[in-house]
Symmetry: C2
Subunit: 336 residues, 2 copies
DNA sequence: TTGTAAGCGTTATCAT
DNA sequence: ATGATAACGCTTACAA
């Protein structure tokens, strides 16, 4: 492959001039510029990213760490982060941490050694190496989707409280009063926030969300099944369920189906995320949409700002959720 | 960040010795090795990947080009490629080509400039720049999931003909005779192969798959809906449908549901891929499984073999599909 | 505006 | 077994 040296020789200029033409950081005489460009075309010269990265200390990549690739919401994040990253002229290194902090640490280390321009963490493990990264190597970092309440790191999150509010309002407006919630683990901040928004709003409408009506699990499909089994084993009366993820909602619906309980005729179900399948499934899932696209764009933007050493207007960016009404919710039997 | 120079100074050896300790390519005296390792630990030295990449002409990354991230089968591919790549000690650069050959070309160019150790193409666009890559820059390449019939490029594919056979056998065994197929575009080789396997097998059982019973579209959800509409508009009698992707199958089921036709009671539906949702959906989808994990592992393996300049045992690796029977297929009414 | 030359942090070659 | 030293291909002071 042709190098700058070759171009310089052909264009009868120095390598620095070639470099200037390419980076267009410094004015170059029209005539010499044309010569150089001609030589570049002739030799099909493409600058070596490793060399320029080494010199300028910028690998022209950003890294994205997700805890699990085969999960619809992370798919969305991967897609939109890739899009934003490319629109900045960079490339994306993707790593699956499997929620394992050792794998995460190893991934991060490689990114740092590669002089990435930034790292986006989507849901970090609790023993995350983020702090280490931020302190030791000064690589710009953004946390996406899961806020760390304790840390002073740029963060992009959903307004999780508001998500709970939207869900509660929707179910209450439909006339439900026997309502349950399937939540993520309470040691995760966003689970707590979602639940607070949900139960606060119910309370404002005179509905108490008792402990027996809250099932705590993870955000996966199986949690939905388990929750439904638990509610019925405990004999809890229910006409509507809000699941804190669409996957949970699908698990719940599958279990209801298995038990011969019709959705939404007998029980309404709604989720959170608005994954692709929410639209596709039959019946289509009523849910609270997470604005993944905006969140990812924001995250990349925050990386770029830090790269340019600009001061961030704020450390914490909270984006609003949106209620998407489809076909898994309706008024309870006998109401209205 | 500490560099080799720093380590060398602290350990009172030359940088080359440090390099040798790290690469362990050449024997180093036990004693000096320990000294060096101590210094490395003390300084928390991490070799710079850009520098070593520049010198050794290996970026320690491989690139993966997919046409669409938000598609369940590509999710699987992304996941399993990432896994295999990491187990080789490399990292993954992911690019979404949107089936746009210009975007693809640009992505590939950056990968080459980055001296990636290999590129995996998952379903290339028809005007793909693969050939260019293979010829100009000698970067190892593997095509995954969609074979190019014309080219002499290492390829990993599903045995698509066999997939058609498995689907046909299953439906025939259940007693179906009025069978339809929703296929991908016939200008894509794998669609044709799947269809051939399917119709050949039906024919062996005395069933002719007429043109009116084949709907050609893409592999997306909407195609399934369109196909069902078409079949019913045309008044084609059907008791079973094989869709060449799970997404198509879900589209078909949604449309059947909308029309009040029960699956599998009135019409059996089966797919191809075995995406996550096939298991999760209600009713769970009967399908032909694509061994994504094995395919991806193979693809990465082929890259590594090429990197080591080893001769490939073959250019084309065909992996077997597997029938997964779930709840969307059963014997037609009236039979057995 | 352009050229010279000194790195960036490694690895590879050649001595010793 | 170890050390000097020259690359790798680019950017960036500093000079001219």
């Amino acid at each position: 492959m042709a190098s700058m040296k070759d171009v310089a020789r052909l264009a009868k200029v120095s390598v620095s001039t070639v470099s200037r033409v390419i980076s267009r950081s410094v004015p170059v005489d029209e005539k010499t510029r044309l010569q150089v460009e001609k030589a570049i075309r002739k030799l099909q010269f493409k600058p070596n990213l490793l060399a320029s990265g080494l010199r300028s200390k910028s690998g022209q990549v950003i890294g994205l760490a997700v805890p699990e690739i085969l999960h619809p919401s992370f798919n969305a994040i991967i897609k939109y982060v890739e899009e934003s990253v490319r629109s900045e002229g960079l490339q994306l290194i993707l790593g699956n941490t499997h929620n394992d902090f050792e794998i995460e640490a190893q991934f991060i280390e490689s990114l740092v050694r590669r002089h990435v321009d930034g790292i986006i963490f989507s849901r970090v493990s609790d023993q995350s190496s983020i702090l280490h990264v931020v302190n030791k190597s000064h690589v710009p970092v953004v946390v996406l989707d899961r806020a760390l309440d304790t840390e002073d790191i740029p963060t992009v999150v959903l307004d999780n409280y508001k998500a709970g509010v939207l869900a509660a309002e929707h179910l209450v407006m439909l006339g439900h009063r026997k309502i349950a919630c399937v939540a993520g683990h309470s040691n995760i901040l966003l689970s707590r926030e979602r639940l607070s928004g949900f139960s606060d709003t119910l309370r404002q409408h005179g509905i108490q969300l008792g402990h027996d009506r809250v099932y705590e699990g993870n955000f996966r499909y199986e949690t939905g099944k388990e929750a439904v089994q638990k509610f019925f084993t405990d004999g809890v009366e229910i006409t509507a369920i809000w699941a804190q993820s669409d996957l949970i909602a699908f698990g719940a619906m599958a279990e209801l189906e298995r038990m011969g309980i019709a959705v939404p005729e007998s029980i309404s179900v709604m989720g959170l995320d608005d994954i692709e399948f929410a639209r596709i499934a039959v019946p289509a899932l009523t849910t609270v949409k997470q604005p993944f696209e905006d969140m990812c764009r924001k995250a990349v933007e925050l990386i770029m700002l830090q790269t340019r050493k600009e001061k961030l207007p704020s450390k914490r960016f909270v984006l609003a959720p949106e209620l998407i009404v489809r076909n898994t919710t309706r008024s309870p039997r006998g109401s209205l």
